[in-house]
Every structure is written in structure tokens, then in C-alpha cells.
């Protein structure tokens, strides 16, 4: 299984890199600080609703939604473009393997690196949170961690796919940051803009059906919806005003909505991202001269 050998080598290579450990450190610190802030803030602000473990998980979604895309870019943008730019890809592809296996090995290896860093940070953060709150929902925490690691794997696939599209690391950086800006920073605005134009330059009072699934195309929105879909109790338990959950939670409460407007669509969107990234990345990487 040469893809496994590639993944293993990639992981081993990354473990020896300072960047990975910087990443783990940043996420652990971030996770402890924000957990502490979440737990202590309501009391300081004189809020009546106390912090709960379920609320902490939803709060963490917001943090992960920002950290994972950036971390995935850092960990994965060079995965294939960098090897092509330097020429180590020639060493790799001189061995009995195929471009497809190298691509898959890269996705698995980088996803493992990202999941490792994220996993350590999550366990520490949630552990500190549980200790501060004196409350722990182990089953929910486990499911949450699994969903989050899967989200990290989805992002690793997207960025490795982007890296497969080019032989220049600077172009890979541009493409990956462009993806981040469009699908993470601006995505709330873009569909609204389309709606605004379609409605004759006015914002309608009721939102059309297609707006919600379109908004879900942003991977981190889809991740939030997935968490809400698979951990429905969380949204209910976290009170009327969950910190980060926006549209997803409101819709979750209304079971009569059609499927595309329910949070389950998040799972589909994430799967679609994996599929699209794999296909585009493979076609481009397989068809090019190195």
C-alpha cells in the first residue's frame, strides 16, 4: 500500500517540523484562554444564564470554524505544490507508486497532522472547561471531537486539492487564501449580495428557500450545521441565545422544513467538498507535466 507509506512519511516529516508544534501550542493556548473566557464571562457580565458544557461545545465550534481553515492552509498548502517546486516529487514518483496514490497519501498524511494538533488542543480545552464547570457530557464531547476531526480532514482534502492544482507554492498560497476569503470571510455576504441584486436591489422581508443551502456551502457553516444536526440536544440545552449558532439552530427547531433547509444538509455539503476536492485535485495533478 504505497499511499500508506506516503502518508506515514508525510506525517513523520511533519512531526519533525517546528511549524506543527507551533500550531499545536497555539491551539492549546487559544483553547484554554477562550474556554476560560466562556466559563467566566457570564458571571462577570452579570448574566443570569450560567455557562453549560453544551454551551461550551457550541462556543468551541466558532473557534474551530476559524482555526481549522487557517491551520489547514498552513499545514497543507505546500503538500504537493511544494514538492513540485523543490523537485522532491521526482524522488517520490520515481518509486513504484502512482500520482493518485501520492495524492491520497498526502491527503491522509496531512489530515492526520491536522487532526493530531487539533485533537490535542480540543482535549486540553474541553478538559479545562469541564473542570471549571464541574460538568461533563462525555458522549456529546466524544461525538463533538469526532465531528470536528472529520471537519479538519475535509479541510485538509480541500487544501491538498488546491495544492495539487499548481506547481508553485506562491500560487498555492494565493489560491488557498482566496478560498478562505471567499468561502469563510465573505460567504455570508455573497449570497446576500446575489439576493439583493436578484430582488431588484432591495432586501426582501422573507428569505427565499435557496438562500439557506447556499449559505451552507461555506465549509465552516456546514460544520456548524453538522454539529447541530448530530447533537440536537446541544442547541436546545444551550439556552435561547447560543453564542455562535445562528441560522442553523433556528431551523433545527422547526422540523417541518424541507430537507435542504435542515441542518443535515451540512453533512452533505462537507461530503461534497471532499468529493469535489478529490476529483479536481486528482484530474489536475494526474494530467500535468511535473
Amino acid at each position: 500500500m504505497s499511499w500508506f507509506a506516503v502518508a506515514k512519511k508525510d506525517f513523520r516529516d511533519a512531526v519533525q517540523s517546528r511549524a506543527l508544534w507551533a500550531l499545536v501550542t497555539v491551539f492549546v493556548v487559544l483553547s484554554i484562554v477562550s474556554t476560560y473566557a466562556y466559563v467566566e464571562a457570564p458571571a462577570l457580565l452579570g448574566s443570569t444564564t450560567a455557562a453549560t458544557f453544551g454551551g461550551l461545545l457550541l462556543f468551541t465550534v466558532g473557534l474551530v470554524g476559524l482555526f481549522v481553515p487557517l491551520a489547514a492552509i498552513v499545514v497543507c498548502y505546500k503538500s504537493l505544490a511544494g514538492e513540485r517546486e523543490l523537485g522532491s516529487i521526482k524522488l517520490l514518483l520515481s518509486l513504484p507508486t502512482t500520482r493518485r496514490r501520492v495524492f491520497v497519501g498526502k491527503v491522509v498524511g496531512r489530515a492526520a497532522v491536522l487532526a493530531f494538533g487539533l485533537g490535542v488542543g480540543l482535549l486540553v480545552g474541553l478538559g479545562v472547561g469541564a473542570a471549571l464547570l464541574g460538568d461533563l457530557d462525555a458522549a456529546a464531547a466524544l461525538l463533538f471531537v469526532l465531528i470536528t476531526l472529520a471537519f479538519a480532514a475535509v479541510y485538509a482534502t480541500i487544501v491538498v486539492g488546491i495544492s495539487a492544482a499548481t506547481g508553485s507554492t506562491s500560487r498555492a498560497t494565493t489560491l488557498a487564501l482566496g478560498f478562505f476569503v471567499v468561502f469563510e470571510l465573505l460567504w455570508d455576504v455573497i449570497p446576500m449580495g446575489i439576493l439583493y441584486v436578484l430582488e431588484g436591489f432591495t432586501i426582501p422581508s422573507t428569505m427565499p428557500d435557496w438562500l439557506y443551502p447556499l449559505l451552507q456551502l461555506s465549509p465552516s457553516s456546514a460544520y456548524l450545521s453538522t454539529v447541530v444536526a448530530l447533537l440536537p440536544d446541544l442547541a436546545d440545552a444551550s439556552g435561547t441565545e447560543p453564542t455562535q449558532a445562528g441560522a442553523g439552530v433556528e431551523v433545527a427547531a422547526d422540523a417541518a422544513e424541507p430537507f435542504y433547509a435542515s441542518p443535515e444538509i451540512g453533512v452533505l455539503v462537507l461530503l461534497a467538498w471532499v468529493l469535489v476536492s478529490l476529483v479536481i485535485g486528482l484530474v489536475l495533478f494526474d494530467g500535468t507535466d511535473l
Binding site: 513523520r12 516529516d13 523543490l86 523537485g87 522532491s88 521526482k90 524522488l91 520515481s94 507508486t97
Partner: protein, 305 residues
Amino acid sequence: MAAIELEGLTKRYGDVVAVDGLDLTVEEGEIFGFLGPNGAGKSTTIDILLDFTRPTGGTASVLGHDAQSEGLAVRQRTGVLPDAYHVYDRLSGRRHVEFAIEMKGVDDDPDALLERVRVADAADRPAGGYSKGMRQRLVLAMALAGDPDLLVLDEPSTGLDPNGAREMREIIREENARGTTVFFSSHIMEQVEAVCDRVAIIDRGRLVAVDTIDGLRDATETGETLYVYVTALDEGVLERVRGLDGVGRAAIDEGRLRVTVDGVSKFAVLHAIDEIAPVQDFSVVESSLEDLFVRYTTEKQEVEA
């Protein structure tokens, strides 16, 4: 079955033709030298053999497998020292060789391989700190893993000192003695001459000669060059010398006559020159294959230009 078979192989990059209708057969068991100046298309051809690059025309087959559609089968039996590669800076030399062994699915001893190419001392150091010559040896060790049927070496002597180049040639001979076909490229005739059974010379994407070393020597009219000092040398003398039987080319070079002898004895030519202008002294230089290589790859350009 041929180890390597190229038929009409062509690679264009836009308007630039890197490889132009190359036909070439390398038999099993040979040490084959692929010679040409920088930019002649050697690396492009090798990149096609390894499926790093896709040809725009023609076919390439390696060990009976199509290089494009059956690349995996090709690389399973081929050891490669590529051109313009880069090692994994953070991984040690031993990890590199272990990785090659794992990818090839064989059970070679990494330390024995490193010993053979003489980088065993540095096996545990990150390869990023290796010198160019050490990297070259390390990648050769990766190529040798799994006892390949074919070795493809792109400029193997790059970065090696004379001793290292000699050791590289010894390894090539040892591998060949075990039945491995060796195909290697170089822009230096001397390296090819010392070890190859047959040589192909390629220039600007085209094959200009394929022969044994002796065959190449025989085929050339610049077999021997006479340098002759005469008492009085001017254009008139030169013209008359040019008209002599058996004189290939003649020129005035640093106050002496430079004459290539073609088909007759050197003595007869000297004697004839002596009758035109008395000979004071002379010397004979056997042309090296280096000269031949220079002629093949520069004179044709001049003619075409």
C-alpha cells in the same frame, strides 16, 4: 525484448520542440550512454520514460511496458536517479532508504545499501545537511533498493568529485554484471566513454549518432590530427596542402599547419607537405571522443544555422 524503446518520441512546449521524433532502442543488459549538451532534451526524454512528463507524439516503452499507461509496472522494476530532484530535508538518510524499500515492497537492509554508496556514516543525519555529492549517493542507494532490472541515471556524476565519479562507475559496472541494464545521461563524454557499451548523442531534441565507442571513433574523419611546422607558411601553402590526397581539413593554427588525415598514411601526407614547404617538426594528436562530441553537437548547428 528491449529495455527501452522510443518510437518517434516528441515533446513540444508551445513553439519549443524539446524532443523531436526520437527513435532509440536500448537492449537488455547494456550500459547505454545518453549524451548531449545541456538543453539537448536528455532530461525531457528521461522524464517521459518515468512519466513525469507526457509526450506530445510517439511512444516510449520501458521493459515492455508503455511508459504512460503502465508507469507503475515500469517503476516497479526500475531504479532511478532523477535530475533536479530534492531530498526531504528533515528526514535522515536512513529514513530515505527505508522509505524506498517500503515503497518497493522489498526487504533490503538499508544500512547495507548506505554502506555501498558510502554514506553510512551520515545515515542518521537529516539529509538536508548533506552535500550535493552525498545526496547523489543517497538517491543512488534508493535507486539500488530492490535490485532493479533497469537503472535510469540522469547526470549521475553531478556534484561528485573524481573519486566519487569513479565509485559511481564501479557501482554501474557491478550492477551491470548482475544483469541490470543501465541507461545514463551525461554532458561529459569522458564519463560515458569509460563505462558504456553503446552511446547515443542527442542535440536539440534530435538523435545525431548511435554507436559503440569504437564505432564512433571509426566513423569520424577526425581520427588523427597532424600539427606540422614548416619553414614558410602562408595562404598559398595552405591552399596547396588542402589540395593534397588524403587531407581532410587543413588550417593554420598558431603558426603551424593543422591537418586531418583521412584514409592514407600520415607519412604519405607529411611527405607530400614536405615537397610544398620543407617540414621542420611535427606532432600527432589522436582526437578524443570529446572532440567528436563537440563536432557532432556544434558543427551541425553551424551548418544548419
